[in-house]
Amino acid sequence: MKSGSWSKIIIHSLLGLIALAALIPFLLIVAASFSDEMALTVKGYSLWPRDFNLSAYQFIFDKPGRLLRAYGNTIAITVLGTSLSLVMMSLFAYALSRQLFRFRRIYGIFLVVAMLFSGGLVPYYILVTQVLKLQNTFIILLLPNLIGLYQIIILTAFFRQLPNELFDAARVDGAGEWRIYGSLVVPMGKPALATVGLMIAILYWNNWTTPLYFIRDPDLYTLQYLLYQVMRDAEILALEPQIGASQLPTQATTMAMAVLATGPAAFGFFFAQKYLVRGITMGSLK
């Protein structure tokens, strides 16, 4: 054995500890969601459930309407938004990646200026509420994340690396640009599209600011915004008339909501991870 093996053990234990520490908040929430409300209030949060029970989940599944609605909204927005976004961005990026595109330079400057100067919240708020008048609509939940400038740049760089010879051959065979885009660029661009699509999907999934600014209608709540509301006003569930406020498992329920909202996404993350990692390195090392 080389002397290096000792340092490797130290490194492994160090990284293992850091990784465990990073997981503590997740454990805390899961443990709390399986805890008895009284015990949670009296003994406090811990890494192991206090008086293990499922009443928080029972409570949510008894009246799952609100949570299901938010889930439905979030899934619809994520799927629709990401698809639309990918189509719009990849079309733009494909055109931009063509050396012979006459407006390439102008669009380049157009993008960079948009990246450098941001009008910020106030003009955006006025645009949506006074000009477009889209508050309390499904559309506004879709619109804000539709285009990512950074993602356009990743796609453009990727499309530029695709072999031009192939496109030229297709052109000689009489293929138009739509045809080339549909049957060559999209299939060959899959790795980049997957990465960018994931980035956008996460933005949609995690979006709570758009509803915070523009949505008052509970039917349009997204998952994250619902969680925000539940946390802000834990008694919101007490509005359900049949149950007395005293027997409400509020804290445990809140945490169970968080688990139900995050669990599937966190699970998905571990499968999607490698595409995301590629996205990070793509962007930073270009």
């Binding site: 990784a19 990073a22 079309l91 407006f103």
Partner: protein, 332 residues
Amino acid sequence: MTDKDRTVKYRLRMPKRSVSSRGLKTKMGQDLRSRNRVWLLMTLPAALWILLFRYLTMVGVGIAFVDFKPRKGIFGSDFVGLQNFTFLFSTDAVLQATLNTVLLNLLFIVVTLAFSLALAFLMFQIYSSSISRVYQAVLLLPNFISYVIVSYFVFALLATDNGMVNGVLQGLGMPRVAWYTEPQYWPTILLITHLWTAMGWGSLIYLAAMLGIDNELFEAAEMDGAGRGRQFWSITLPIILPIVVINVLLALGSIFNADFGLFFLVTRNQGLLYPTTDVLDTYIYRALTTSGDWSMASAAQFYQSVVGFLLLLTANRLVKRIGGRDRDLSLM
């Protein structure tokens, strides 16, 4: 291969085909024109979005110079010059928010850099083992958790009556702390929260850079008896320094913009904490929604947008000078 090489190669190929016959050349010209039309069409949806949400909102910062009345619109409202700004800077609140924004961001940048580099270096040492992918995934996960959930986490840790931290403190015989009412602790709390969400991402960027280093350099250093620490300072760091500098510069460029979710949700928007947690983004949000004060909000917004733009522009210039390239323009 650089972009320029590619352009040359592509341009060289085009005439070769078209010189063969005059008829083909005109056909190619027409062809190119129609292809350009299709390309332009392809860009339109995204371009319209950018025009609407990015460019129109740029013009929108101009409302800082009018007495904005929603009914009258931007151009219908009365021009008041710098009155909104006099109003804005007449209290200390916006200066406090500016100071908090800049100082906390600086703190975040420095500490996150140190942690990310250290983590990347550790991961680099054991990169060949399969468990390193697990560490990587676990450390990256917080980056993709929304701040709503993060605020739940922090609440479970810091709740006064039953939070875990107070439980531990009590176990150690120390008094409980009412975290959500004591502003002095919050720079540290926010730093830890930020670190938790950001270090996985940061370390990955530097790890990728380290993996790009020629392994022979490390082997040669090992032969000469250099330990891992020495290797880091003499080989790894100098080689990845440009990437570090570029990342730090770009982060410094956005120092006037705070992470709204972190400051708004994780602090639970507690007024008592504002002395250390109120940043420009939360200040503007409050001016806009809670107090509905258009003049205050628009003036603060103009101030943040313009200073932020100048900082980002400077950062990009410096990156270009150091890296010999403009990160954004180089891709165009």
